[in-house]
Amino acid sequence: MKEHQSDSWFIELLKPLRDIAPGNVHPSRAILHAYLKGRLPDIWRVGDRPPDPDDWTLTEVSHHVLACQACGQQLTHMRRVEMEHAQVWTKSLARIPSAIRVHVALYALALIVLFGFNGMLLALFPPLTPSPCSPSSPQDTAGTYQRVDQRLKLEGVNKPVGLPGACPPAPTPQPWQRWWAPWIFIFWTPLLGLHALWGWKTGIGLGRRHRTAATTFARLTPAESRGLLLVPVLSHHGLGPVSL
C-alpha cells in the first residue's frame, strides 16, 4: 500500500488505451501466434496502420490487444492452450525417475563428447588409402631391373631385395581411423544404458533419492567407515580410494 502511494507519480502515466470498436481491423490468429512467439517486427511506427492486414508490428499488436476485448480473449485462450501443453510435458518428464534422467543426460553428453573427439581425430588424421603402385613407364621398369640386378651382385642373394613393381611400405591406418570405430561408440551406448540402470537399482547415482540416502548414511557412520565404503564406488568409476 505504501509502495502504491509512493508510485502515484508513475501510475498517473499509465492511462489505459481507449477500447477499439468491433468493426475495426483485427490481427489474424497467425499474427497473434507470431506475437506470442515474439516473431513480429519490432519497428517504430505510430499512426494509421498500413492497408496490409498482415503487416503488424510488436507494439501495434500489444496496443491492439490491450484495447480490444475480443482479441484479448483469443490471446488468453491461446496462452491457456500453450500452458496446458507445457504442463503435459512437465508431468511426463516428472514421471521418469530422477536417477535415470541424470544418467541418460550424462551419458548422452559423454556420447556427444566422444563423437566430437572421434570426429576431430578423423579430421586431423584422415584415413590413409594405400594406392596400388606400378612402374610408370617401360623405361623405368628396365632401369629398376638393372638396379636390382646390380644390387644382387653387390649384396649377394641372401639379403632381401625389393622386387620391381613392389609398393614402398605405407603407413597403416590408426585404430580410430578404421571404419568400425563409430560402431564401437554405437555399441557402447546400450552398455552405458545398462550402467544407468545398474546405478539406479543399486543406488549409486546422482538422483535425489540416492543423494539423500548417502547424506543420511554419512551422518550415522564415522569418517573411517565412510572412507572404506566409498572405495569400491570410486574404484568402479576409475578413481582411487579417497580418505575423508
Binding site: 508513475f10 499509465l14 481491423v25 517504430w44 505510430v46 499512426g47 494509421d48 510488436l58 488468453t76 496462452r79
Partner: protein, 150 residues
C-alpha cells in the same frame, strides 16, 4: 480509421515506453515533439525522463523499473492467470529477455522484484532509480520554464 490527437499521443507515449523496455535506443531529444503533440508537455516530459535516465545511468535499472510499473499498475483483463504463470516460468528458465516484452505481456502479471532482478540480470535499488527519474523530470520542467517567454 479515425484517430483523435490525444489517443494518438497516448499511443505514441506508450510505444515509446515499450521501446525503452526493449532498449531500441530512440533518442529522447528527437521524441519530445511527437510525444507532446496534444499539448500535454507534462506527460511527455515524464516519459522522456525515463529515456534520459536510461542514457545517463544504468539502462537495465530503468528498464527494470518500467517492467515493474507496467506489470503492477497497467490495466489488464482480470482472468488471464496463465499470462503470469507463463511469464514467470520463462523468467525462471531464462527463456525470455527484456527485448521480447511488450506492455500487454507485462500488464497484470504482478512480477515480484526478485523476478524482475532475474529478468534484468542484476539487482538494483528501485527507490533510487525512481528518485533519479523524478529528478530528471524536474530538470526538464525547470528548463522548459526558463525557456518559456513567461
Amino acid at each position: 480509421m479515425e484517430y483523435d490527437l490525444s489517443t494518438l499521443c497516448q499511443k505514441a507515449r506508450l510505444a515509446y515506453a515499450e521501446h525503452l523496455i526493449r532498449c531500441t535506443d530512440l533518442d529522447p531529444s528527437e521524441m519530445e515533439d511527437l510525444l507532446s503533440l496534444d499539448g500535454d508537455l507534462d506527460q511527455a516530459q515524464r516519459w522522456l525522463a525515463f529515456g534520459y535516465a536510461k542514457r545517463r545511468y544504468d539502462p537495465d535499472h530503468v528498464r527494470g523499473l518500467l517492467v515493474y510499473l507496467f506489470s503492477h499498475y497497467y490495466k489488464s483483463s482480470p482472468d488471464d492467470r496463465s499470462k503470469r504463470k507463463l511469464l514467470v516460468q520463462a523468467i525462471k528458465r531464462r527463456a525470455i529477455e527484456l527485448s521480447e516484452l511488450t506492455i500487454e505481456k507485462l500488464s497484470g502479471t504482478y512480477l515480484k522484484w526478485d523476478e524482475i532482478f532475474e529478468l534484468v540480470g542484476k539487482e538494483f535499488n528501485p527507490s533510487r532509480v525512481k528518485e533519479r527519474v523524478r529528478a530528471i523530470y524536474e530538470e526538464l520542467r525547470d528548463n522548459t520554464q526558463t525557456r518559456s517567454p513567461l
